[in-house]
């Protein structure tokens, strides 16, 4: 159990550094550390599929961030001047946090999965019958590509949308005259 606390604390520290440092490059590297922490955490939470995905996504995300933004602007940013606004936001966020902490007492304790306590939970059936009714030994695969394949269609569409959106936003010339042919 301690490993989870250690990793979470590590991730929180990484997040604080990423948020507060004035150097954008180290902020991005800290996000990388946060992501690898998350990936390790997934591994210890017995979610190898997500761990693999997280790590490859992390690498690509960092490449995107570093290649396209960091070398562009000054890597050092000046301090935030609006002191009053910052304090108000911090207070509001802290209040929400305190309200939220109470809430987690209503959840089942960490380490006693929710689905084990709800007799009719769908996950019970996935584990018991997943292999024989879909043929996939990897139950996560059978959930995302068979039981909830419709979600995966949505997910592929989200990616497609964002790629089309990115190509549209990065095109050279956006407006033209009516009669002009499309470039």
């Amino acid at each position: 159990m301690y490993i989870f606390y250690a990793l979470l604390v590590f991730m929180i520290i990484a997040a604080i550094i990423a948020i507060e440092t004035k150097n954008l490059l180290s902020a991005v590297i800290c996000i990388g550390a946060l992501g690898f922490g998350a990936s390790l955490m997934f591994l210890f939470l017995r979610a190898p599929d997500i761990a693999i995905t997280q790590i490859v996504v992390e690498v690509l995300g960092l490449i995107i961030l570093i290649r396209s933004t960091i070398s562009r602007d000054l890597t050092f940013i000046s301090g935030d001047k609006e002191f009053f606004g910052t304090v108000v936001s911090v207070v509001i966020i802290f209040v929400i946090f305190l309200a939220g902490v109470k809430v987690f007492e209503t959840l089942p304790d960490f380490g006693t999965a929710v689905f084990a306590q709800v007799p009719e939970a769908a996950s019970q059936t996935y584990i018991k019958e997943g292999l024989q009714s879909t043929g996939a030994a990897n139950i996560v695969s059978s959930v995302i590509l068979d039981y909830r394949a419709y979600d995966t269609l949505g997910e592929a569409t989200v990616l497609f949308t964002s790629i089309i959106g990115a190509t549209v936003l990065l095109r050279k010339k956006a407006k033209k005259l009516l009669e002009e042919p499309d470039l």
């Binding site: 948020i19 911090v90 689905f115 139950i139 964002s162």
Partner: protein
């Protein structure tokens, strides 16, 4: 308690996205929020001493077509894992789109500082 730490991470991301004035920092804040949610979902499905929801040959009885009882009682929850896979992809997609908006804005304004990117009133 681990849930509360996870929520703290979420709130740190929210703070960063709301307060910071640099576009890259805002993007980073949103990324932190998304990590926190993903982590929270997977943590909900964890069992102490659990095993990954992947069946290997030893745990399956091909004649009866049944999964061993030991697997059923100790596998962690596959459903949140499936959701998190979907949600990671969604975050990657929105990261790509957000970065492309950022660099196109940079090309127009020459800065990532949103206090200087103020053509629209209010």
């Amino acid at each position: 308690m681990p849930y509360a730490l996870c929520f703290l991470l979420f709130m740190l991301g929210l703070y960063c996205a709301v307060v910071k004035k640099n576009m890259v920092k805002i993007v980073i804040g949103i990324m932190v929020m998304e990590y926190a949610v993903n982590l929270f979902l997977v943590m909900l499905g964890f069992r102490v001493g659990g095993i990954a929801p992947i069946i290997d040959r030893a745990q399956y009885d091909p004649v009866m077509r049944q999964v061993a009882a030991g697997f059923v009682s100790s596998s962690v929850d596959p459903l949140p894992q499936a959701l998190v896979l979907t949600s990671i992809v969604i975050s990657l997609g929105s990261l790509a789109l957000m970065i492309s908006i950022c660099i196109r804005t940079y090309e127009k304004y020459g800065t990532f500082d949103i206090t200087q990117i103020r053509r629209l009133k209010g």
